[in-house]
Amino acid sequence: MLSVKSVSKHYAKKTALDQVSLDADSGKIIGLLGPNGAGKTSLIRIITMITAPDSGEVFFQGEKMRQELISGIGYLPEERGLYRKMTILDQAMYFGRLKGLSKAACSEGINYWFERLDMMDWKKKKLEELSKGMQQKVQFVLTILHKPKLLILDEPFTGFDPLNAEIIKNEIIGLKEQGACILLSTHRMESVEELCDDITLINNGKVIIQGEVNEVRSRYKKSEFEFVFKGSLNKSLKGVSERSDRIQKDGSTRSLMQVQAGHSTHELIQDIMQEVHLLEFREMLPSIKDIFIELVGTRI
């Protein structure tokens, strides 16, 4: 669906993007991650043809990106903005038509989405009469009104209360299931793990990690295991370099163990089972957030 090939972009003294490549298929959500100033917005602006790359190419639906194909993209920028004095209906018609929809198709889309997201009463209101969260909702609808094949969402959840964030999340999943390809740029790591199929992590204009979410997580696993058991486990365990226990309300113990490289987990489990009644056992994969912090070295 979308293929970015070795794209580079330099500004006066700064390299915004350095040989960035990315592939995104339809029916997938791709998380675009990176600290502030990493080059995410630069990449998005090149994909949407707002700026041109110094080198590299962007392909969309198998064709080299050109202005006529842009209407197949829906872009929700991080910095939102609509006309404050214009009614919601007028704005929706205006933006829809700018995306190439006919008047009739525009009205149809507006009715469908406004009905679905319970926004029918807002139609005649001016934007400035709506709350921040309502405005965000309007903006989201304007982005998807023209049924884009590629949806670029930059921090789509900011400004929403948990209830509306959930509604929007479900709509995003719904669009994905209908075959849209979604590029999701966000700082909310929990939503990355929950929503994204693939991730691309950018830092200082370079791609640091790329791949399927669980594959990336296992790539960065650190032989950490979690055991939940009943009874007391006092003896020192062979092959465990670090261990921290926590007694839970039901009297069981939750123990996190760092296992030395090369040591068999099978042996460890047997050791433990000799002493206590083992209830749960699982390998701990690092969260995307942990990987992000480890690689980028900054808090988010």
């Binding site: 949407t48 700026t51 872009y75 903005g81 205006y94 933006f95 700018l98």
Partner: protein, 429 residues
């Protein structure tokens, strides 16, 4: 093209629906009509001052026992039998030591303060009397003196395409300058709207959303054209309503006098030999080539606006907020301010001089300078050349402005320097 039309449409409809637009559109012609009415009224009242005042002269010197010559408004009664001061406009006292060689000590007393015209009239009449007395003393006859007085009036007319047209420099200057002033006002008025619109889109981050659907150039041009249409709508309504109002006002103000159009015709046919000053003014007004003037006004208003608003758009795109625009506004508006200042002095004095001709060719000054020159008559080749330059100037400036706009509109954070703005013009893609 479709997107430019959509942007233009949005700019237009969102603005003409505003209350402020409707109010201004309706009030404008009233103001214009009032302005026009005031000019006519002043022109008329100047020549139609019928007030006659009788001045009581108490002549103790005996010099003016034969009377003092009156003029149109003041006449003098010297030492009458009835000296009831209340029935006179004022009292002029000539002391006994007042002589033709030492005419000192004359005093004027009245309940109302004397205006400057009346005072000089009175002085002139006394001086005239004394002068005559001196001439008589040197041996001239009164009859000879009377025959010396002659009255010559020149009525200026202009030959154009073999036709003789009434010409009044003051009217030409007033019409030209009024037109130029309106262009100046409109460029600012609507240019600032473009600037505010761009600043709004940038500071509200609308541009981030919209720019993925519309090319920056289309967005800028759509906005400029939309507001141009708003301006054109407003001006055309103004011209229409003003014409209607003037058609109502003119006969009211000139009732009793001859219809100015008829007068103009009669003057042209030579049927009225010596037109009065009042007739001259109105005839000259009606003999102006309104078609060329209105066309010229609309052309220079639109192209001047397009040229300047492209620059205003570029400025607004380069900075983060409206308040930061000031720094860049000034250098851009210098040619505009310069031309309105020059128009008042140099151009009005010599509308076909070198400076006026050159300035009316430069697109930055032409809208104002050419408008001032138009009522005086401009040669066709000059007008055509100036209009061509205007069109090329607009295209060139818009292209440059769009280069700045395209980069500036997405640049946040710091106020750029002039150097950076020039650099933006050369960015690729």
């Amino acid at each position: 093209m479709r997107n430019i039309a959509l942007v233009t449409g949005r700019e237009y409809t969102s603005r003409v629906r505003k209350k402020s637009f409707i109010v201004m559109t309706l009030i404008g012609p009233l103001l214009l009509a009032a302005f026009y009415g005031a000019i006519i009224w002043l022109a008329m009242s100047d020549t139609q001052n019928d007030d006659k005042h009788e001045i009581l002269v108490v002549d103790e010197s005996g010099l003016f026992s034969q009377g003092i010559d009156p003029n149109e408004n003041l006449f003098f009664t010297v030492n009458p039998n009835d000296t009831n001061e209340d029935s006179y406009y004022g009292t002029l006292i000539i002391p006994s030591d007042f002589t033709i060689d030492q005419p000192n000590g004359a005093r004027y007393l009245s309940s109302e303060s004397l205006n400057i015209v009346e005072q000089s009239t009175m002085e002139n009449q006394l001086e005239k009397s004394i002068k005559e007395k001196k001439l008589v003393r040197s041996g001239l006859l009164k009859e000879t003196l009377d025959s010396l007085n002659t009255d010559v009036q020149i009525s200026a007319a202009k030959i154009s395409d073999g036709e003789i047209k009434e010409n009044n420099t003051m009217i030409n200057a007033a019409v030209g300058f009024a037109g130029a002033f309106f262009i100046y006002l409109f460029i600012f008025l609507y240019g600032v709207q473009v600037m505010k619109g761009v600043a709004e889109e940038k500071s509200n981050r609308i541009v981030e959303v919209i720019i993925s659907s519309v090319k920056p150039f289309d967005l800028m041009l759509g906005k400029i054209l939309g507001i141009a249409l708003v301006g054109l709508t407003q001006v055309l309504i103004w011209i229409g309503l003003s014409a209607a109002l003037m058609a109502i006002i003119t006969p009211l103000l000139t009732s009793g006098a001859m219809n100015p159009e008829d007068a103009a015709q009669l003057i042209q046919q030579g049927q009225i030999a010596a037109p009065s000053a009042q007739m001259n003014v109105l005839a000259a007004l009606f003999q102006l080539d309104f078609a060329t003037l209105i066309f010229g006004f609309l052309f220079y208003f639109i192209t001047g606006y397009l040229l300047y608003s492209a620059m205003f758009a570029a400025i607004a795109s380069a900075v983060d907020s409206e308040t930061d625009t000031q720094q860049f506004m000034f250098p851009i508006t210098i040619p505009l301010i310069f031309s309105i200042v020059v128009a008042q002095s140099v151009v009005l004095k010599d509308p076909n001089g070198d400076l006026a001709t050159w300035l009316s060719m430069i697109p930055f000054t032409a809208p104002i300078i050419m408008m001032v020159r138009l009522p005086f008559g401009v040669e066709n080749w000059q007008l055509v050349l100036s209009m061509l330059f205007m069109i090329f100037g607009f295209i060139g400036v818009t292209w440059l402005a769009s280069r700045i706009y395209r980069v500036g509109i997405l640049m946040y954070g710091k106020k750029p320097s002039y150097k950076e703005i020039f650099k933006w013009m050369t960015y690729k893609g």
